[in-house]
Amino acid sequence: MNIVVCVKQTPARDSLLRVDAAGKWVSEDDLNFEINEPDAYALESGLQLKEQHGGEVTVLCAGPARAAQTIREALAKGADRAIHIAADHLGALDPLGLAKLMAAALRDEKPDLVLTGLQSDDLGYGQTGVILAELLGLPHATIIMQVEVEGGTLQVKRELEDGWFQHVAMPLPALLTIQSGISKLRYATLMGIKRAKTKPVRTVSAAELGDAATPVLEVARVYAPPRGKRTQLFDGDARESAARLVEKLRFEARVL
């Protein structure tokens, strides 16, 4: 089974984010980067499927030179080879432009399965995987919690809202966007890190892949949410106050 896993490098989750001088993105000075969290689960799913069914895992990553480290990490964890779309200013691309580059990079590949993370931790569009499926002419399913391959058919479990799940059977080849937290991620072992150096990485420039399409989306301004306290006091008895608190936590704060 030939599996392609698309990964993105995003700022580390414990980063102190500052808006850059142009006000259009975060300043990348002093930032540490890591694999986008949902993509790490996509990679883990791909590696597990390879262990069960054989074949190979190819990592596809678009990003500047620093993305090489994320690619190495994926190779260290067990991916067999990688394609690096070298491009400095991917932030200027919208999901369609990026998906076009990725589809072009996969032109000569014949994947049975393409896995992406559900969305990226930085831009969070949640669109790139879905558009890539369309450009590759593949069926897709999103927010995947579980993947099984049985007799050339995919059985997937999708997460819906309110604790509901949907079980879907779909044909291969296909594209799935993977939810975070669905399994325990493996560690890159030191042996794996050592071996990663010898694994092939094909680097292609964005220019070689053709026109990425004019962006139809533009980031106008990036700003931090205003900080402040707005204390609300609930009058009334405890039962009524608790009910109102739950309502606010669910519908305003959206933490429930």
Partner: protein, 386 residues
């Protein structure tokens, strides 16, 4: 961490950065959340050795033929730096004994037969190793050791006692220093000793000021018989092997201690930023800003001395002097740094619920273990020709 003026030194690569990240994640997920529980229990699960071995921590510089990663001292440095995130020095010393006190000696001196029987399973975490040199009457003065191994047929028969042996209770085998001839320095040999050998027993588990979850044991040997093929290296050369090997142990110790100085500084700065007193953060008080700044500068100085020693070791150059200095400077500095990092925490720092107090207690060991500060100074004085 300070930026190198020349990007070529220290020669950390992308590979080393991956080591750092992977080891950090391992610590944060597998160890730190349970540190207090294990500290209170006074022990940690043996399974951690399997997990650490799977990650590759016990064979960082070992030949891949024996299951190692075949990397260099910079990979060890990266791993030690990330291991600070255990917040639990008891486990770090257990790992260090396996990775840097026993495995390298077997790798260097062992025959392929011994490497297969002892080295490979130690690297794989299947057999826990301990280094057994010290005795009740012999600590710094290694040449005074009295545990004897006499030849009998094709065997060694061992009698005596060892003390202060880290991993001693749980060890599956010992790297054991014994007396095989009368001559003080030319009469010591190293043996690989399976702890299931008849006549071997573990006395009491020692109670200590720090590292309370690390097992430190008193070991007894009563006419223990092992085959002579378990001799490691040449007979009666043990003293010199031990002295040579101490360099690696002391460099590893300096790296371990540096990492926990970094950790206590991180905890101190974090607390200093969160804690308000007299209308401002603790870290806004000049007394703390300056004290922590001094420590930061001193730690960096100690780090670069340690890196220099690591560089020499990596090049198999003579590093005796530099390693002794690095061990002396880091472990003495750690007493001041961890003291102040605990002090800024006030009363909270004096409770056992904050990792900073655990680090302070545990770092106390290192001016004593792996060669006392006094021995380091004496070695340096001798090397200076005084």
């Amino acid at each position: 961490m300070i930026q190198a003026s020349s990007p070529s030194f220290p020669p950390f690569t992308e590979e080393h950065e991956l080591v750092r990240q992977s080891v950090k994640r391992f610590c944060l997920e597998e160890i730190a959340p349970f540190a207090t529980e294990w500290e209170n229990a006074g022990e940690y699960p043996r399974e951690l050795f399997h997990k650490a071995a799977h990650l590759g921590l016990f064979g960082i510089r070992t030949d891949p033929k024996w299951g190692g990663a075949g990397m260099d001292w910079w990979a060890s440095a990266a791993a030690y730096e990330a291991l600070r995130f255990t917040d639990f020095p008891s486990i770090n010393i257990g790992f260090m004994v396996q990775a840097d006190l026993t495995v390298p000696l077997i790798d260097e001196l062992g025959t392929d037969e011994l490497r297969k029987e002892f080295l490979a399973p130690a690297v794989a975490g299947k057999r826990i190793a301990a280094l057994a040199i010290s005795e009740p009457g012999c600590g710094s003065d290694v040449a005074a050791l009295r545990t004897t191994a006499r030849e009998d047929g094709g065997d060694f028969v061992i009698s005596g006692q060892k003390l202060w042996i880290t991993n001693g209770v749980n060890a599956d085998f010992l790297l054991l220093a014994v007396r095989t001839a009368e001559d003080r320095h030319h009469g010591i040999s190293l043996l690989l000793f399976p702890t299931e050998t008849k006549g071997f027993s573990v006395g009491k588990r020692l109670k200590k000021v720090g590292h309370v979850a690390s097992d430190t044991a008193e070991l007894f040997f009563d006419e223990c018989r092992i085959p002579q093929r378990y001799l490691l290296g040449r007979r009666n050369r043990g003293f010199y092997y031990i002295m040579g090997h101490f360099q690696g142990e002391r460099l590893a110790t300096a790296m371990l201690v540096l990492s926990f100085m970094d950790r206590s500084m991180e905890l101190a700065v974090q607390y200093g930023k969160e804690r308000q007193a007299f209308g401002r953060r603790l870290i806004d008080n000049q007394v703390w800003r300056h004290r922590l700044a001094e420590h930061r500068a001193s730690i960096e100085a100690a780090r670069w001395l340690t890196y220099h020693a690591a560089d020499l070791m990596n090049h198999h150059a003579k590093a005796d002097r530099e390693v002794s200095m690095a061990k002396l400077v880091t472990t003495e500095l750690a007493q001041k740094v961890t003291y102040d990092c605990m002090q800024i925490h006030g009363g909270f720092g004096y409770t056992t619920e904050y990792p900073v107090s655990r680090i302070w207690r545990d770092m106390r060991l290192y001016t004593i273990g792996a060669g006392t500060s006094e021995i380091m100074k004496e070695k340096l004085a001798k090397q200076e020709g005084w």
